[in-house]
Symmetry: C2
Subunit: 139 residues, 2 copies
Amino acid sequence: MYVVIAGCGNLGRRLAESLSSRGEEVVVLDSRPEALETLSPEFGGFRVEGDAADTLTLSRTKLDRADLAIAATDDDNVNLFFSQVARFLFSVPRAVARVHDPAREDVFRRLGVETVCPTTAAADLMLAMSSAGRRQAGL
Amino acid sequence: MYVVIAGCGNLGRRLAESLSSRGEEVVVLDSRPEALETLSPEFGGFRVEGDAADTLTLSRTKLDRADLAIAATDDDNVNLFFSQVARFLFSVPRAVARVHDPAREDVFRRLGVETVCPTTAAADLMLAMSSAGRRQAGL
């Protein structure tokens, strides 16, 4: 699988390293060279320095060949732009985006982008943990 | 189950409303009255205005009776303080904390606090989604 990831913060870096260690072909894109330098030496993919909202930079990531685009920057607007461009300008079959504002998830989905909201993911996990505790305690 | 939640941002509010709708007894604590006002009218629990790092405020939440303390403020330090005070000063059997910095999760755990990192939760979900896509595509 060929995966292009926009954003090399905590989330992007983690995804890049995990997918690369699974044997996927990974390109990570970030405008901050210092963010790209946080990737572990074992990371076997490519690093591209540039703006995820700039289509010329996106061409340099060979986005047209990607099976999956992941938008992992901190900015919901950049994530939406990148996902849309990936899906409809570069014909990437799937795009997954981090969305901070849960109220915007519906907009992304209607535009053909799968979403993950960290707050929703954390809330779901905490609710599962509190149910597990309830069962353990026999309440 | 009696649950005290510190922090009424997106995460705390979501947890408070879900747990309350499940029939749990819930108290939400926040120093910002406007945050407490975002709770839905259906929320059947109690709201306490005050600082999660102030033990006098914590007494007002009847934390000593709680089965579960949830630290959901935006500040890892406040979350650690609140969880520790709940566990060891108010003898709450379980504490679950949101931790933004994944590097600190180990410290929380060694202090008897379960943790959820939104970035880790989002990364896990995205990795599961990308595997699912791989299987669907037969790659």
